[in-house]
């Protein structure tokens, strides 16, 4: 069988403002056979998207394809002129972008946008195209395939839009489809559905796929061959199983290892030497945060957090996990005093913590520090790293001049950054370095409790693994207490002692991190844990088969006052779960589960 895609010696260069050329992709060769899925794997900046776009004959503004041969389905893409490219794109090769939410035109119905490629390329008459679109919607397992096309993009969820975009890419029955990180922005529970739909459609129609991603676990599920890229060059290229199980190059090994984060060993709760030591650092009780109309008791109509109860014991790390929109970041903002709660109390070392940061004492502000998600945005671009650290030292500890400089340098050592960074500005640092500076700034205050809000979400796996390692190390040496907010289960297990699972503004379960992967759990926890892709082929089939066996019946109307998981729960009790708030089941080993099911009927995760 001949290769459908074959790239030889591809070079893409970018032009700098001063006129110099920068190589972005250097001498890349790759090939894929008819019906295969080829994965391009690498960190951000490795050139994986640039290569995928070059397959379509496109280079981003300021860049150009400067050499090499690109052959896709018999077309010499590098030799096509503008008219040739127009006929080629959308017809022979199509593209699924990372963020479908921003790729669709919000002013047009989805149907018009999905069938547009078929009409522009004169592949099908309108009526036929509409019929095929509905067929594709069905194949993608979208709800209401006949009518979903009449809706507008804002009416659908991210996962649904991603599948609609794939339908749009497939409507002309192209020979090659390029997927550019299509599930990166999705929650793990949604990712499964999308991956399964993609894979089924590709296999059924014998389409060749190019799948761009940084997530090796996803590669294991969808790809036949994997190409590992680094700095715009091929680092390793082989069958997926070979790359994942027996990586030959050091860099590929490093990538694979970053996916296997060590799990933090279970530690017994700090032994109470005397009565005071057992007191938690932070206690959150019955906290309600929301917006909209306020009722007679002063409670808002729309609640983001509804009756949160948590505590962070001294010297321990509490992980908070949940899907996007579950209220994780609002909880961080509330604890930090940036979003005062409508009801409930926060206690810090036994003292009431005011809702607004302006009403807290300077000492409280010093002892509770937040490390925010996006280090790009929380470091003032006009300041140098040294000035950022020295300001905190001056503000909280009155250090100035030489003393402040010495202390700031010590902080840089603490987060393993070279002293040379002292005079640099945030713009000149890499993502991982910025996050370390962000961490150092929080540590400069010498806090008791550090709130970490998605600190690894914007980082590449290898960099994220290093940050998590740093965090564990600092926690151990400085005896910090932490709240670690994340949507990444691997990160959670690598650093946390205890876990709280958040759903729709409720804590549905609290347990020890070590017991998260086995034993009885809340049905949502079980769904979340089983949705995290594992790095072995066949995992997706197993999960999909299991899901099909326990598919819940028709979705009841949104729960009001009942358990927030009711609409998606396969074990729900009609008439109870959607009406009555679930009771909390306390087990002897400190697990707290909010569910109507009796403890012995809760889903049990298989011991791994």
């Amino acid at each position: 069988m001949t290769n459908l895609i074959s790239v030889r010696g591809l070079r893409v260069t970018g032009r700098r403002a001063d006129g110099g050329d920068v190589p972005i992709v250097r001498d890349v060769s790759l090939e894929a056979r008819q019906g295969e899925v080829l994965a391009l794997v690498g960190e951000s900046g490795s050139g994986k998207t640039t290569i995928a776009l070059a397959l379509m004959g496109h280079a981003r503004a300021g860049c150009g394809i400067s050499g090499g041969e690109i052959e896709v389905a018999g077309h010499r893409v590098d030799r096509l002129d503008a008219a040739g490219l127009r006929a080629f794109r959308g017809r022979t090769i199509s593209y699924v972008a990372q963020n479908a939410g921003s790729a669709f035109n919000p002013a047009l119905t989805l149907h018009r946008q999905v069938i547009e490629p078929a009409l522009t390329h004169w592949v099908l008459p309108r009526r036929e195209a509409e019929r095929r679109a509905v067929e594709l919607f069905r194949a993608m397992a979208l709800p209401h395939p006949e009518t979903i096309g009449a809706r507008y993009p804002h009416q659908l969820s991210g996962g649904q839009l991603q599948r609609l975009m794939a339908a749009m890419a497939l409507i002309t029955e192209p020979e090659v489809v390029v997927f550019d990180e299509p599930t990166t922005a999705l929650d793990v529970t949604t990712q499964i559905e999308v991956l399964e739909a993609f894979r089924a459609v590709l296999a059924h129609r014998g389409i060749t796929g190019v799948y761009v991603t940084h997530d090796l676990a996803v590669v294991a599920q969808v790809a036949d061959r994997a190409v590992v890229l680094r700095h715009g060059a091929v680092c390793e290229s082989d069958a997926t199983a070979m790359v994942l199980e027996r990586p030959r190059t050091a860099y590929a090994r490093q990538l694979v290892e970053a996916c296997h984060l060590p799990v933090r060993p279970a530690r017994p709760a700090a032994a109470p030497a005397d009565g005071a030591a057992a007191e938690p650092v932070l206690t959150v009780s019955d906290v309600i945060v929301g917006y909209g109309r306020v009722d007679a008791r002063g409670l808002p109509a729309r609640r983001i957090l509804d009756g949160i109860d948590l505590s962070v014991p001294q010297g321990r790390i509490l992980g908070i996990i949940g899907e996007s929109g579950c209220g994780k970041s609002t909880l961080a903002r509330t604890i930090a005093g940036l979003q005062p709660p409508a009801a409930g109390t926060l206690r810090f070392r036994g003292d009431i913590l005011a809702g607004g940061v302006g009403h807290r004492t300077p000492e409280q502000r010093r002892r509770l520090q937040i490390v925010a998600q996006n280090a790009d945005l929380v470091l003032n671009p006009a300041w140098t790293v040294g000035a950022i650290l020295e300001r905190v030292l001056e503000f909280f500890h009155g250090l100035r001049g030489v003393a402040a400089r010495a202390e700031a340098l010590r902080l840089l050592d603490l987060v393993h950054l070279p002293h040379a960074l002292f005079d640099r500005r945030p713009m000149e640092l890499s993502g991982g370095q910025k996050q370390r500076v962000n961490f150092a700034r929080a540590l400069a205050a010498r806090p008791d409790l550090v709130l970490c809000d998605e600190i690894t979400a914007a980082l590449d796996p290898v960099v994220a693994a290093a940050i998590l390692e740093l965090m564990s190390e600092l926690q151990a040496t400085l005896g910090l207490s932490c709240v670690f907010i994340t949507h990444d289960l691997h990160a959670l297990r690598a650093v946390c002692d205890r876990v709280a699972v958040l759903l729709g503004g409720h804590v549905v379960e609290q347990c020890e991190a070590a017991s998260l992967m086995d034993g009885a759990h809340h049905p949502y926890t079980q769904l979340l844990v089983s949705s995290v892709p594992e790095m072995r082929a066949g995992w997706l089939d197993e999960v999909a088969a299991r899901r099909r066996a326990t598919t819940p019946g028709p979705v009841p109307p949104a729960a009001d006052g009942g358990c927030p998981f009711t609409p998606r729960c396969g074990l729900r009790v009609e008439g109870v779960c959607d009406r009555v708030p679930p009771p909390i089941i306390n087990s002897p080993d400190g697990q707290r589960i909010a569910c109507h099911l009796p403890p012995d009927e809760l889903p049990v995760l298989p011991r791994t």
């Binding site: 300077p362 502000r365 937040i370 925010a372 996006n374 945005l377 929380v378 003032n380 006009a382 909280f396």
Partner: protein
């Protein structure tokens, strides 16, 4: 360009870094302005004749060895008068721009950093000012207050304040929502610190562009006023009044009317192009 580089690097490492961090647009415009300042200060010292001195019987004379740019309608040396004219145009416009931008920036930041009421009252006031045509407003004030250079500076300062207010308020509003400002507030920093150290340094680039543009507007307004006879009064000269008094020379194609017009265009279009990021 190199002039301003040298000028800024005298401020030491900090000044050089400041210049290096600016976008190329404001940087080039600053350089060009510096050249005009040199002419404004040094020009009259180099002028071969006094501005009022009648040096030739021949009016509207062409370019010659004695009078490089010819003579004007009274037979005075145009080159000397032009150097004096540049001085008044550049200085009056600089002072009025500084006045309007200082007031505008202070009020714009005050509007974002204080209560909603301050913002509402200021906003309506500025909108009211903005709705009056600028030339009409200037004519009115000068007709009432009499023609003097301080009155000119003050009037033009008031006219261009609302625009500067709006720009700086929009900038400050955007930066005030940035996460690093939130971080400073969460630390418990005072309002003055947040404004001066967290917000203001991130506004400088766009603000300098805005100031440059407002200077260009001011040059045009002053020239308009002078052309109408309400601006700089004889015996003083500026570029606008040079055009007006020599407008008869247009029929003879005299440099006395063409050259001041060209200089005016060079000043305004040059700064404008530099700000746009093109080579002036």
């Amino acid at each position: 360009m190199s002039a301003v580089g040298a000028f800024l690097s005298r401020g030491g490492r900090h000044g050089a870094m400041f210049a290096a961090r600016l976008a190329p647009g404001p940087r080039r415009a600053l350089g060009l302005l510096a050249v005009w300042f040199v002419i404004a200060f040094a020009g009259p010292l180099l002028a071969p004749h006094a501005p009022g001195e009648i040096v030739d019987r021949d009016v509207f004379a062409g370019v010659s060895l004695h009078h490089w740019l010819g003579t004007d309608y009274l037979g005075r040396d145009l080159g000397s008068r032009l150097l004096w004219g540049v001085r008044y145009t550049v200085l009056i416009c600089t002072l009025s721009t500084l006045l309007s931008c200082c007031c505008g920036i202070v009020l714009g930041i005050a509007a974002t950093a204080t209560s909603v009421w301050v913002e509402r009252v200021l906003g309506r006031l500025m909108d009211g000012l903005l709705s009056i045509p600028s030339l009409l407003f200037a004519l009115l004030v000068i007709a009432a207050a009499g023609e003097s250079i301080p009155a000119l500076i003050l009037t033009m300062g008031v006219i261009y304040m609302p625009g500067s207010y709006r720009t700086s308020r929009a900038l400050a509003l955007r930066i005030a929502r940035a996460d690093y400002v939130t971080a400073a507030l969460a630390r418990g920093e005072g309002r003055a610190f947040v404004i001066l150290r967290e917000i203001l340094p991130n506004m400088t680039g766009p603000l300098l562009s805005d100031i440059g543009l407002r200077f260009v507007y001011a040059v045009l307004l002053l020239s308009n006023l002078s052309f109408l006879g309400l601006g700089v009064q004889p015996p003083l000269v500026d570029l606008g009044s040079l055009v007006r008094e020599n407008v008869l020379g247009l029929a003879y194609g005299a440099p006395a009317v063409v050259v001041p017009t060209l200089v005016l265009a060079l000043l305004t279009v040059g700064i404008n192009l530099a700000l746009d990021g093109r080579r002036p």
